[in-house]
Every structure is written in C-alpha cells, then in structure tokens.
Symmetry: C2
Subunit: 414 residues, 2 copies
Amino acid sequence: MTYRFSADYILRTCGDAAKTAQIAAGEQSSGTFVEIPGEDEALKQRSAAQVELLEQVEDPGTPVLAGSEGDGTPTSWKMRLSWPLENIGPSLPNLVATVAGNIGELKQVAGLKITDLHLPAPFFERYHGPGFGVEGTRRLAGVHEGPLIGTIIKPSVGLTAAGTAALVDELCEGGIDFIKDDELQADGTRCPFETRFEKVMDVVDRHADRSGRKVMYAVNITGELDEMLHRHELVLKRGGTCVMVSLNSVGMTGLAALRNETQLPIHAHRNGWGMLGRPDHTGWSYPAWSTLWRVIGVDHMHVNGLSNKFWETDESVIASARHCLSPLHFDFPNRVMPVFSSGQTVLQAAPTYQQTGSSDLIFCAGGGVVAHPSGVGAGVKSLRESWQAAFEGISLEAASAKSSVLREAVEKFS
Amino acid sequence: MTYRFSADYILRTCGDAAKTAQIAAGEQSSGTFVEIPGEDEALKQRSAAQVELLEQVEDPGTPVLAGSEGDGTPTSWKMRLSWPLENIGPSLPNLVATVAGNIGELKQVAGLKITDLHLPAPFFERYHGPGFGVEGTRRLAGVHEGPLIGTIIKPSVGLTAAGTAALVDELCEGGIDFIKDDELQADGTRCPFETRFEKVMDVVDRHADRSGRKVMYAVNITGELDEMLHRHELVLKRGGTCVMVSLNSVGMTGLAALRNETQLPIHAHRNGWGMLGRPDHTGWSYPAWSTLWRVIGVDHMHVNGLSNKFWETDESVIASARHCLSPLHFDFPNRVMPVFSSGQTVLQAAPTYQQTGSSDLIFCAGGGVVAHPSGVGAGVKSLRESWQAAFEGISLEAASAKSSVLREAVEKFS
C-alpha cells in the first residue's frame, strides 16, 4: 500500500497563491530554486509534495509576517499539502521537519498556521499511543463516573517537601481525586523531587488505607531523560499512579524515549503552548500540535479552562477538549483525557459539561479549592456538587439553596 | 554561592507595564491569582522572580496578540526577569518551563519575545557543551584556514543512495570540504540511512586516500533517540566525521541524551526556526534560542545566509553568526561554527567575510556549486576563489578578470 501523509494550513501570501503553494510544496520535497544537472524529472515527481487543496478564505487584513514578498495585498487560503510516506517513513521528528520546517521561512509566505495533520496507520503502529487514556485513568484513580476533581499545589515554588505534604494531607482529607505539581515545581534544592514525592505518597497512602481509594498524584518528573526514567521508576515502585511532564521542554524524541518505558499515565503539561498557539498567522493549531503527543502516547492533555485567567476564548478551549476526546484515526483513536485548569471554580462546571458534552475529564481548580471560605474539604465538596447539579440540569442557584458549601463558593467566586 | 538566572524580553502590554511585569514574575514563580491560606510571605519571597529591568522602547504600533486585555494602546518595554537557581537547579527543560512557559498566555501580555538568556556557571558545568566547535571541526575536516566550502545534497528527496553517492563523487572530485544531507533526507525507504551512508563513505574514503583529506559529511541522523544513537555509532565506527540533527524535531532532552554519547561534531539544523524567530511579538530571538543548544553542546549552528531565499534580513543573519562566534560565558565560551546557507554563491563571500569579521564558518552553496556552467569542480573552485579575493580585499570584478571559473559564476549568479 502506498501511504501518504498530509498537513492542513492557513496560508497567507501577498503574491500569487497557486504559485506560492507550489513553491512551498517544492521546498518541502524534491524542489530546488536553481535547476541543477543531476535532477531527473521522474525521481523528482515520485517524491514530490502535492498541493491537494487551495481554497480562498477571508483574510483578516492584519499585517503580514516580517520579510514577506509580493505585490498584492495579502490573501488567505486553506491549503493541504501531501507527501509520500516513503520520503520519511513513520518518523515524527522527520514529519515535523517536513510539514513545519523551512516552509515558514519562505518570503512568499506571509503567514502560515498548521491547522491539522492526517497520519496514516504506520505512525500509529510504530508509536505506543496512550497507555491509559480515559478508562485506564479512571481505573487507577477509582473514579468511575463524572470528572476527576483535581487541584494544583500552590504556591508554585517556595513550599518545602513537608509543606507540600501538609497541603496534600488537607486535600486528601477533603476528598480530592487528583493532585498535580505546578509545572514550575520539579527538583529545586528547597523541594527536591525524591523527598517531596516520598512525603506526599506517605500521605496519599495513609488516606488510601482509610478510604480505599488512592488519590492520583501527577508528580512533575520533567528533567533530562535519565532523570525522568529514574523518577518514573521510583514512582512506579512506590505505588504512585501518574507522572507529569512539560511537553515543550522535553521535546518529541525525549518524550518518545520516556514513553517506551512508562507504565503509568503521562499527564502532559502544555506550558509554552501560547508561543505556538496564540499568534494568528504562525505556529500550530491545538488539534495539529496535540496529534504529535497523542501518537507518541500521553494520557492527559491540558486544554486551559472556561473563563480562564489567560488569553484564550472559551470556544477555543472547548474545541481543544473535544479534539482530545475524538478519535485521531478509525483504528487508532488515541483518545486522551482533557485537563481543564486556570481559574476554575464551581461557576465553570455546568458550562464545561454542556459544551464539552462529556465528563471524561480532569477538572483542576487551585484557588477554587483551597480558597473556599470553609476550607479545603468544603472546596472539594462544592466542586463535586456543582458537577452533580450540572448532570441533573439544576442551576447553581437552585443547588446552592440546598448546600451551604456550594452557596459559599458561588458567593466567593462570582 | 546564591546563583540567579535571568531572561530578557520585549514585552508589549495594553495595560500598566509595571503591573504586568509583576504579574508575569508572579505567574512564573511563587504567585497565584487568589490569595490562599497556606501562603507564607517569607517562603514566597525567597522563591520569587524579580523584575530587574523595565525600560520603555518604541512600540511598532502593530496589532497585539489575540486576547490581550487592557485599556490603553500598546506600549513596548525591555524587561529582565530573574529567578533563584534553587527554584529549578541547572536544568534546561525546567528553565524553559520557567522563562517561556505560561508567561506568554497571560491576557495582560500583548506581546512577548524572549531576547536573551543569562545562565550561571552550574548550567555549563552540568551540560557537555560543544565537543568540537571551530577548532575540532577544522582538525577533522583538514581545513586550517578560511571557511569550509560546503554544499547540500539536492534534490532534497528523490535521489537513491547510489545517486547520492554519484553526486558526492563529483563533489569530492571538485575539491569540496563539507557535504550535508538536506533536512528532508533522513531514512526514507527509497534512500535508507545505512545504505546511503555506506555508499557515500566509500566515495569519501576513496577520495581521502587520493587527497589525504577526508571530506566532512554531515549525515542526517534525525530520528528517535535509539535510532540516532545507533546511527551515531555506525558513523563513528565507519570513520565518518559529523552527524546532523534537526533541533526542533529532536527537542532538548533528546538532544542532551544524544550529546551524552556523541564523539563527533553535531551539525545543528534549525528548520522550523521561522515559526519561533520570524514573528515580531512572540517567540524567541536567535541568541536566546541558540543558547539552549550551545549549552547542551552542538558544534555547528545554521544562521541562514546573506541575500537568502528566505524572509530574513542580512542584518539579522550577521547578528546570528556573530553570536555563534561570541562566548556565552566568560569561563564557558561554548563557541560554535556558524553555517551559512540558502541561495549562497560567489557573490556573498566578500560581504559575509566583511560583516561576520571571521572566516571560522561553513559556507554552504547548493546551486552555487552544482549549477556552475563548467560543472561541480568549477563551482567549488569559484567559491574558494571568491573567498580568497575577499581575504585579499580584491573586488569580484578584478578577481574575475584573472579566473574563468569565477567569471562564469559571477555571470551565472548575478
């Protein structure tokens, strides 16, 4: 079978779009800018990228990327390029060099955003994909329906290992399902990885003995590969149930090498994503970018949250979450659990449920848990009640009338 | 000793700059958005990021990043933030999460470009740094002065292993110093890595037996970590003298794991760089971004070329090259060899030499070598003569009067 892979883009150009698309396809496959003697037309053709689609869309009329060339005013186009898989084989690093390499540097290109990737089966056969996904995470966390109610340990940095464990004790006592390190907390000298992890697990285990359910602690193992492998091993041996990594810091080949060894869910933090996803005319869309990590095999992907403290619109957040829960490929769905966070409180439960159309998600609230007027336990309880109300289609106001912890949360966070 | 590390930015904001800088510093260290009970002021302070500098610069007046918040029109600022090294230890992945993580997603931030990094000695002590640099590369290539005259095998993809070797034969015959794979050529089924490498090395060795000098072949080993390690081992055993990787595809921890094992110069390809470097108001500057790879330990860094086929200005190209040749740290210079490429011909030799102020560089011409009217050998000879003329301060016109190959090249490429 002759496979091809393809990438979708929004292309802007100040020149002729058809010509620009051909130049881009040539640059990313068998073309050169000067005709050279050794070039044989047949061998060029069999390796050439093809322009599969070029369809004009509305141009935003904003300034173009630096160094753009061309006479006209910019126009915008949906463009799909495809390549024979034989050019690179099912290799994600070489896929990225092909679909997102020099193409963005062409002066004919006045804007280029990668909006989707279409990968054939060999990529999914070669990489592990998620080892746990939604079902495996639910099993390990002992949460069989509804969202995993989670929180982030704050302050991000500054707490000692003992301070972290004390906070985790309160959270476990309060009935939390999921706790994660902040991405800034990894292995600093004031809160070293091993001490923090051991102290937290002592607390988690003590509560598990009491409750019969082990709170999932996504401990941040981000570091060099040997450190991450060593930390994963420690977590596994000690009975931990999740490891967290910062995707953009670790990079693709480091993550794939880690994934080859992991036996626990990988909680994938997207910090740094803003640099790739926020600009209109360059970078990646979330569906395209997250496809890379889902093929390699993470289990949880951050998607921001509704009414978040960051720049992103609710529409964009929901599109990301729905993408995480949608199959990547008919035979290889590689579904992952979306992680909502950033300024989340009881107020976002109902809209998150309604707009995502699912509760196969992790709902992380920082202040929304620990800043509850009646304490951490009340914070967790109020979040769970807000989700229960959402499931039952009862308004927060109506549900608050029957619950003081929910009423306090609504008052505090409105 | 209490170390700090710092990052410089160009910050744009539509709000109050001093407040935005404080929010950014808080987000990237011990701050949270909601005051929470467990927070102790002393522990927050000892881990806090500091705003070291905030100085207004001219704002370009262009639109701001999506989702930016604030009343005013945007203003631009030089900002320096610093952090205690204790927060993360000398860990590049955690450095990136700290200096380039969620900070770019803040709605108060209307634009944020990282312009420089200042790393203390522990980073340089922990990572290998370049194993070869300028001196080691010259020694292995047998080129003791002047630039390494190089070329890129084209077409990028489509050639078989035998076709590649035949082209390399011509290039070696012509007296080339350096040959690199295109970044699109890695291990496709039509030109598998091992076959290509073996066939090329047969040719390189044959010419070395004749000339006493082994042409440096930067073979593209980009792939998953196990593949890269295996390929490096093959190259080393077979007497190859260079390996090439695509930095943005491989990522930081994969490269560091590879660097732990390499015994050959690493030729670092920057494809995908446009996405990070081309936008004005987001991403990285070349000095900041290349610092990461130089600390890990690459030996050659691509810098584009003068009058290139891409978007970049000559001024920007020269600044990158000069940065490669400047020390990163007083005790750890980590100098790397800049690689000029993209539409390079005899015409760019003199301005490249004059503006870089050095010939410690690799000068790669594709069409500029193989499209010479009198053949590949004449192409290489003409480039060498153009550099000799530059060294002697003789104009290309004057030098062409004495050399037919140079005259032909000037006519062809003007």
